[in-house]
Symmetry: C2
């Protein structure tokens, strides 16, 4: 005892001594009212300074683990000793377990929890070997991150109001960031009359809160098919029955949309008008206006996923739906910089009708109190310092090059039937019906190349079995070419 | 036009020029294919450098707002001009509104949303005048924050793995922090066999996720009465019917607990064993063991709120319920440093059975993807650097002094019937039944003193009408005395 303590380099020594002593007390190796070694003795045994032992003993006393008797030394507090053993060990190894303390959680969880687990793709994903070429990610390339500007933004903001940032903030969000984003959205053409912003932990929280806030009448939701799989998952978890509308080269198929809308009631529409996930399609301005008209005339709330619209490499300006909708209040815009800037900073925003935002704010408060003020203020200061525009310029140039390389390689090497992707961070590919992409993936994985099978993004099971999404944002140039060539070769082998 | 631009100091000038031009294009002040002033002309009109204009024009072109014609100059892109006016203004001021684009959100929201709003105390709270003495907060005193250590922790961590921190993390949490917290909980006496940790956005998200995960059978929850109002709110929002059990000086009334447990089924118990909110009572070790026994023998999951247990000023060591429960797997421990360290960092954790954590992880992923990696890694590095122990020491000394001052002042000045609070950041006071604290609060507010009426914390409406919570953590010493004296004087006046 004592001499066997292992002092690690990575933590203050007195804390390690304290923890060591606590363990002895807790395990019953030291009994209540038992005398402890003197500080001099312990320092010799542990080969550490006496001051360190004094500090450790003082804190153990403050925390109630030991008590000191003037002139006699330190003793183990009777209440602290063997707390666990009193309970579980005296009643036998199992303690409360015999008494019903053991629960079979699989039997006790809610349907929601088991569905969340079942639909959790991260738990069903492909495990790529180290060194594989992976086209599964559409997260930004971290090599682009301008860390010095991030550090500067943090230090700037901490110097201005560090104490405020570290204490409680507001459910609605960090005021300077809200004001910045309002101006930012106004510059995209949004009429802010009667609208307001709520800051959320990224797109996902915004979407989840909006789904919780909307009342259900038909219990039906309509969206593009295929579409963002997290959105599909969350609509399912909220109990919606989902109607998917096929995509054309310039966005949702308007005729089918109208047919579906005429066929029954819908509680909401979910749309990704720019760099649609997974197809990469940018909806044309004409379709945007017609889509809004079709949905608005039926009083259907539109949840607009502003996903990546910042990433346009070129081409004409396309306004978000909420801008095209003018003063109408039925578009709920979900914004995020996560796919462009830093996903590790969990910041997104909901721009919508002021009254609706009031309800969303209360839900947000009941769920997570508020979004990390550090994330919000750092992002604000980074934007305020003018870093975003410069970063975006570099990022666009980088992604554009990769995009062109990926398109070129796909055309050269893949036996594809259809290819879409107007820019952004990914392409969507459809093969002949003789080539199920799950089988292709299995074969490619063995050759060290992975991608996302497209069926993940479809509303109905069995759809999209010959499609795949290729995310290229984090793949090096030469690997883009090499990886796509391998996929092509493998596809041809399988197609015979 | 142009000359009326107002250049602010706080943002890069070229961005301001860009935004100004976008607004003109958007509002239709500039029409499609209209020629823009040359860079030389615009720089003269706006009194800014020509380079700035060149940069602004380049970016406007990249974003598709304008196009350049070699040798002729820059022109407004036809697609960009008057996007809004095409839609709403040409169809009249209201645009899509006439077409059903206007929704009365109060009619369209879910019951959950309207309940969240109704139960949102922040929207019903007392607005204290500036300069008031406010006993409503139980947040930490930001004067204690050691900003230099926070900055150092951030810089340390960013230097080690900045790129990783800014990209996507894991739903389960930041691995080094999870490992740290597992060791931390083990040092509190927890047997980690079969247990795991999920990191959440503070206590509140952890609680909300756990409530979502637990299956309902009786739909009934049991807890101390009074108790933490956010917990009450969230149990109500999750549709639980709540049974409250009265408190005694050393914690929950065991006889009543047993009677209630014998009277019917319960799906869960929610308990705050240390510095119980709002009463400030620390449950005695004997009661802890008996409470676990009563609940475990009936197979009821126990949600333990680890609220502030770090803040013990003195007295014997008291193990959390999950430590006393040994290897049983029915205790779900929710931990947070928010009330002690930095609430602005939204980090909490759930320590529970491994299998249950698996479900919670999937729910977490569907709700918010993951907790801010910046918050998690900063907190980890701060703890790792050994700052927490030193900070806690200072904080405890500070709060202990305030606590003793508050107790002393209450005894001296308040016509109270009962006083509780074994430490922590607040006291709970009960007056004679002739003194409703809502009326006392109204009178005190006029004299510049505010506190939290105790009825907020009770399960049933109408209970606790003569109680109040006094949070002293952020009140200066002299104001503690002065404020309590004013409350006392006012109470006596009202009691006649």
């Amino acid at each position: 005892m004592y001499a066997d303590i292992k002092i690690a380099d990575d933590r203050p020594v007195y804390i390690q001594v304290k923890d060591y002593m606590k363990r002895l007390i807790r395990r019953g190796a030291l009994q209540g009212d038992q005398k402890l070694p003197s500080t001099r003795e312990l320092s010799a045994l542990m080969k550490i300074s006496r001051n360190t032992v004094v500090t450790a003993y003082n804190e153990l006393e403050e925390e109630g683990y030991i008590y000191a008797v003037q002139g006699k030394g330190n003793f183990v507090a009777p209440g602290a000793a063997g707390n666990v053993s009193e309970l579980s060990y005296e009643e036998g190894e199992s303690g409360f377990e015999d008494d019903g303390g053991h629960i079979d959680w699989r039997q006790r969880i809610s349907r929601y929890a088991s569905e969340a687990e079942r639909l959790d793709l991260m738990k069903r994903g492909i495990r790529a070997e180290k060194g594989s070429i992976s086209f599964t990610s559409i997260a930004p390339d971290e090599k682009l991150f301008d860390l010095h500007n991030v550090k500067r933004a943090f230090m700037d903001r901490m110097s201005i109001e560090g104490e405020v940032l570290l204490n409680y903030g507001y459910a609605k969000g960090y005021k300077p960031l809200i004001d910045f984003l309002l101006r930012y959205m106004e510059n995209k053409g949004v009429d802010l009359t009667g609208k307001d912003i709520l800051i959320t932990n990224g797109f996902t929280e915004g979407f989840d809160i909006v789904l919780s806030a909307l009342g259900k009448s038909s219990g039906r939701a309509i969206c593009e098919n295929p579409t963002h799989n997290t959105a599909l998952k969350n609509m399912k978890l909220h109990g919606y029955s989902i109607t998917g509308v096929d995509m054309e080269a310039d966005g949702i198929d308007l005729k089918r949309l109208e047919t579906e809308l005429d066929s029954g009631e819908f509680d909401l529409a979910y749309l990704v008008p720019s760099y649609h996930n997974p197809t990469g399609i940018v909806m044309s301005p004409e379709k945007r206006i017609e889509t809004i008209r079709l949905l608005s005339s039926r009083g259907i709330p539109i949840i607009e996923d502003g996903f990546n619209e910042e990433l346009r490499y070129s081409g004409s300006h396309v306004a978000p739906l909420i801008a095209s909708a003018g003063r109408s209040n039925n578009v709920i815009y979900l914004g995020s910089y996560s796919k462009i800037l830093f996903p590790g900073l969990r910041v997104g925003w909901v721009l919508a009708d002021k009254e609706l935002i009031g309800y969303l704010e209360s839900i947000k408060r009941s769920r997570t109190i508020h979004t990390s003020t550090l994330d919000q203020s750092l992002l604000y200061q980074y934007l305020h310092n003018g870093n975003f525009e410069k970063y975006l310029k570099r990022a666009k140039a980088e992604y554009k090059r990769k995009y062109e390389l990926a398109i070129e390689s796909c055309k050269a090497y893949l036996p594809l039937r259809k290819l879409s992707g107007d820019g952004g961070l990914h392409l969507f590919i459809e093969f002949d019906e003789t080539l199920p992409t799950r089988i292709l993936l299995e074969a490619c994985t063995r050759k060290g190349v992975v991608f996302t099978p497209g069926d993940n993004f479809y509303v109905e099971e069995g759809q999209g079995r010959h499609t795949m999404r290729l995310g290229f944002s984090r793949v090096a140039d030469e690997q883009i070419v090499q990886g796509i060539r391998i996929i092509g070769d493998t596809a041809r082998e399988l197609m015979g």
